[in-house]
């Protein structure tokens, strides 16, 4: 067989398992990853010289983390691994890479995108103040740096990460002042049939909540966040409880987030078709059940394709590799594909259950005061966004971006995108699907002015 270049973007669970499957078939994929160490965010490594055990770092998931790390270590001689490298653009089957200040183009025959996710953020007045971090960011501070984001921490939002990070903080000795969940108790009960698709995972979620109770951490369900207060630094969180009673909790740090959003810019630059996903309330690349995108030779796996979590990402990575192999004429048995597809099925049911249990609170975007900041890069407020909808007639997010610059800043809409779409949809009085999606633009992250192409 002629040499073919298979490029995998991302060295988390999906990218690792995709690479392993390709190596098993005799291929030598290129694996590009932005981080210094493999594992992705979920199984992120601590720096050399740190001594906490895998059990300290990953809790119940320690064995899985070690398995993924071990699988990657076994591959390193047999793949072309490029850590600390950003794929900043894709154009005509070439990936544009940045390592340090050196840029390089890499032509590929097949592309497996395992780009992962970031926190899905619902802004609240005061969320740009020092001391406010995403839930994932709060977790990374602890996992990768053994730090808490503050001395008295409130966690606010919803989703599996909310109680998990709160539990990890409390267990590590941080003072967790309160856990404020926007999801009402009734939503959890409604979600039970879906969540029962993965009983062990459901049990873990309940365990973290029970452990927080035992440790005396105050937890509220069905809250409405009002504001994060302070003068140049977090001093308190204001919210109203499920009965509408106002509360003010003193703290010096807040972790916020409502589940995760898929990181899809590269799929967009690869010109994949997207469709609105009603469960995620996000426009996602269209794939078949094995991860084939609409563009020939492009495959998606893991949370970057659809938020299904790390276990599903491992399976999806293998499936995407199998699909790529088949399309290149390498034999893959029906039995292998059937087993992998079957293993993914309960994870999709569980995901639907999670979204029922911890719904994205679109109503909070609609209720944001005009002066609340939606875009933290360029300080664009909900009121400015509403004005471009109502006065300038921006019918969808890209026009709104051109008029307001929302999504044009250095984060390229990663932080403001989901909430911005909801604010715009509400101002226009249309379903959020109708305001479309922010188109990806290269470079997906800022490049240094001094970047130079490789000789």
């Amino acid at each position: 067989m002629a040499h073919r270049t298979i490029l995998i973007v991302g060295a988390g669970p999906a990218g690792t398992r995709a690479a392993a499957r390709l190596v098993a078939a005799g291929m030598r994929p290129v694996v590009v990853d932005e981080a210094a160490g493999n594992g992705g965010q979920i199984y992120r490594r601590q720096p050399a010289g740190f001594r906490r055990t895998p059990a300290d770092l990953y809790g119940f998931e320690a064995a899985k983390a070690q398995a993924v790390h071990g699988a990657f270590a076994a591959l390193e001689e047999r793949i072309d691994y490029r850590p600390q490298t950003l794929v900043w653009h894709l154009w005509e089957n070439e990936a544009h890479l940045l390592t340090g200040e050196r840029t390089e183009r890499l032509a590929y025959d097949a592309l497996i995108l395992a780009t992962g996710a970031t926190d899905r953020i619902m802004p609240v007045p005061g969320w740009t103040m020092p001391g406010v971090y995403s839930l994932g960011g709060a977790q990374i501070a602890l996992k990768a740096q053994a730090c808490a984001i503050g001395s008295n921490v409130v966690f606010m939002g919803s989703g599996p990460l909310l109680t998990l990070v709160a539990y990890q903080y409390a267990k590590a000795g941080a003072k967790v002042v309160a856990v404020l969940d926007t999801a009402p108790v009734s939503a959890g009960i409604r979600a039970l049939p879906g969540l029962a698709a993965r009983p062990a995972l459901l049990a873990k979620g309940l365990y973290y909540t029970a452990a927080l109770w035992r440790m005396g951490v105050k937890m509220w369900r069905g809250v409405t966040p009002v504001a994060i207060e302070g003068d140049e630094s977090v001093e308190a969180v204001r919210f109203s409880d499920a009965r509408g009673v106002a509360h003010r909790v003193v703290c010096d740090a807040v972790g916020i987030g409502h589940g995760l959003r898929s990181e899809t810019q590269l799929a967009d630059l690869a010109r994949c078709d997207f469709a609105f996903d009603a469960i995620a309330r996000q426009w996602l690349p269209v794939t078949d059940q094995d991860g084939r995108a609409s563009v020939r030779g492009v495959y998606l796996a893991g949370d970057g394709a659809r938020i299904l979590g790390a276990d599903a990402a491992e399976i999806a990575g293998q499936l995407a590799a199998c699909a790529a192999l088949r399309d290149m004429g390498v034999a893959v048995t029906e039995g292998e594909l059937a087993d992998l597809r079957q293993a993914l099925a309960p994870m999709r049911r569980f995901r639907a259950g999670l979204e029922t249990a911890f719904p994205w609170p679109a109503r909070l975007a609609a209720a944001l005061p005009d002066e609340a900041m939606v875009c933290r890069c360029e300080c664009i407020t909900a009121g400015e966004l509403r004005a471009v909808a109502r006065q300038k007639g921006a019918p969808e997010v890209n026009r709104a971006k051109a008029f307001s610059r929302l999504g044009m800043g250095r984060c390229q809409g990663r932080m403001c995108g989901p909430a911005g779409a909801e604010v715009l949809a509400d101002a226009l009085g249309v379903p959020v699907a109708e305001v479309g999606r922010l188109r990806g633009q290269g470079p997906v992250k800022p490049l240094p002015m001094t970047a130079q192409s490789a000789p």
Partner: protein, 100 residues
Amino acid sequence: MGRFQRLAEHDRPTISLEIDGMTVTALAGDTLQVAILTNAASVRTSEFDDGQRAGFCLMAACQDCWVWTVSGERLRSCSTEAMDGMRIITRGSAWHIEQS
């Protein structure tokens, strides 16, 4: 004064770096963001409203933790390892100098 609180991994060699002209101590293996925020309350000033910022995502996505070296190189502090002898400016970018 510091924002981030160390909970474990105290037993690492110390390094020293200069932040806005002040010499501070950090630990080997710290990210630049951690080195700054265990000594200070914020890492930068927003170019758009003068508000203080201290980063947000810690995973190289939000780009809200940029700082500069004294020679003008821009660093994303959450994904840059702090090194002994680094000289960092948090409020001295070309843009800020122009405004002041």
